[in-house]
Symmetry: C2
Subunit: 334 residues, 2 copies
């Protein structure tokens, strides 16, 4: 009840105002051929009426919808926030709107969100996939133009991922160089790539792999804390932990503090993903930096350009040494 909310003006009215047919208006505005005189008239009328073509009408006619969908596990996680920022940044330069959904690493919610996007006739989608590759078969069959980000779960879908193998290897080598032999990986579900890289790295360096050195958490902070605390409590023999993300790193620091495990004296910690607060933390955290924003940007480029899509883009990571890793002191703690 706050105003007469003026009706949207259509191409028909512009045509009338310019004294031409609707086809001509459409042609002029789409850069088609027209005489200089009519072009002038149409442009003037459009400007005068502040005409904005309706994306609805356009998209209905041409079957292809503009806009791109983006599915991330958790927008609250700095890594995915930065990835999102990269996508938005690229999309903005193309003038394409981005619809964002949060999956919480739950395949069911993911499927539901995909359904919503398909209903909107979105045909371009960037996703950090939650489940395994099978789940994506229907979406792909539906003609969805999908690009995976951060994780690669199908070989037939283009993806932009950090160089997990190199990152993990760097981390493990660094820790091994400090004398650590019992190194644990604290990851979240869906990081099969990294876990594989981890066990491979352990094996290649001849370190013992006596079973459950890999612990998984779900997307929430609570779950991350529980996993970290469990690891520190039940495995007093591990002397170094690799956290597979900033939420997990945060949880590890918190849990260590709570359990009176000192970093790096009692256990060394190295965290995937460099975040601003890693430097502010006490102790400042040694991290494997990941180009989160670039990942998003490149994924958006891929999904927008759409032509000649390379199977995979791998972006380098970087070890940033701060103060959360130290040489091993004597034996295992406690």
């Amino acid at each position: 009840m706050n105003g007469p909310t003026q009706r949207r003006i259509t191409i028909k009215e512009v045509a009338e105002a310019a004294g031409v047919g609707v086809a001509t208006v459409s042609r002029v505005l789409s850069g088609g051929s027209a005489s200089a005189e009519t072009r002038e008239k149409v442009l003037a009328a459009a400007a005068r009426l502040d005409y904005r073509p309706s994306a609805l009408g356009r998209n209905l006619r041409r079957q292809r919808t503009g806009g791109i969908g983006l599915l991330v596990p958790d927008i609250t996680d700095s890594f995915y926030a930065r990835l999102t920022d990269g996508v938005l940044s690229c999309a903005r330069s193309y003038g394409e709107p981005v619809t964002v959904g949060v999956t919480g690493d739950d395949p069911e919610r993911e499927a539901e969100l995909i359904g919503t996007l398909i209903e909107q006739s979105m045909d371009r989608l960037i996703a950090v996939p939650s489940g395994d590759g099978e789940m994506w078969a229907p979406a792909l069959r539906a003609g969805l133009n999908v690009v995976f980000a951060d994780r690669r779960v199908r070989a037939d879908v283009p993806s932009v991922v950090p160089d997990d193998r190199a990152g993990v290897l760097t981390a493990v080598e660094y820790l091994a160089g400090l004398g650590h032999r019992k190194i644990a990986y604290l990851g979240r579900h869906g990081q099969s790539q990294r876990v594989a890289a981890f066990t491979a790295a352990i094996a290649s360096l001849g370190l013992p792999d006596d079973g459950d050195l890999v612990v998984h958490a779900r997307a929430s902070r609570d779950s991350a804390y529980a996993a970290a605390a469990g690891l520190l409590q039940h495995r007093p023999d591990v002397t170094a932990v690799i956290a597979g993300g900033n939420v997990l790193g945060e949880a590890a620091v918190l849990a260590a503090r709570e359990l009176d495990v000192r970093i790096p004296r009692d256990v060394s910690l190295i965290m995937f993903d460099d975040v601003p607060w890693a430097e502010l933390c006490s102790p400042p955290l040694t991290v494997i930096a990941q180009p989160a924003q670039d990942i998003g940007y490149r994924a958006a480029e891929l999904v927008l350009r759409h032509g000649r899509r390379p199977p995979a883009v791998t972006l380098p990571t970087q070890l940033v040494v701060r103060a959360s890793c130290g040489p091993i002191v004597k034996t295992s703690r406690r």
Copy 2:
């Protein structure tokens, strides 16, 4: 070139498969009246064909578009990420897609994004407004259903904001209680509400207000750092700083460290917005916690319900005392 990308099935095909007219299909699927028999047939056909109504067609017909737009200054900022999470969480329960845009606190970019949203026929918008209220006149006249979040720049637009006045007052009182008299506010553009509350609080406590105790930064981390460093360098007389957001707080800690200003011995710091790392920081940061997620959720509710919209919702903040504020030692530092 990766498949025959099957054509989307339409209501017409469902009608044909069910042996009824399109109108009947539409009616059944929208919950209109129909005989049990036909309802059965239609539902069966729709399920068999995996029919999904096209939002494009629907939205074109009914002039009201589903979906809501969300405009935030910086998705990388934990506060806005959490706010966004709240919006997405609420929107998901309504099955409404959310289109997100990043304004960077730039009114021009904001206007551009609004234009894009209008083109998409979005009629519902949640925004953290960058500019002043005037800028919103065209959007409102266009029939946009707007709700402001975090900042209130117009009285005639519903908004959901934290209780800035109480938050600032609490912070100032707490610092004054510790003996501080020269307190600075480090804010970002668009926080006029808080700055007003700050000067009011200063005045009400009888503290000196000798001019430029308020410093502004833009949305970027660089700008925040510059502002914080400038403040600490040029005003050795201030003994306490209130940072108006987590990015500003982070910048303040960083700048203090760089300039060898110790917290809380040399200056006390209190930060708006509680973030997970505030506890991990050295020293742990005393903060004014803001219900970022709730703000987003409530804003989404407001924009979705749409009826009887209250003029404003104010959500409480909370002082969380940690270790970044201390009593004043002697005189001004240095």
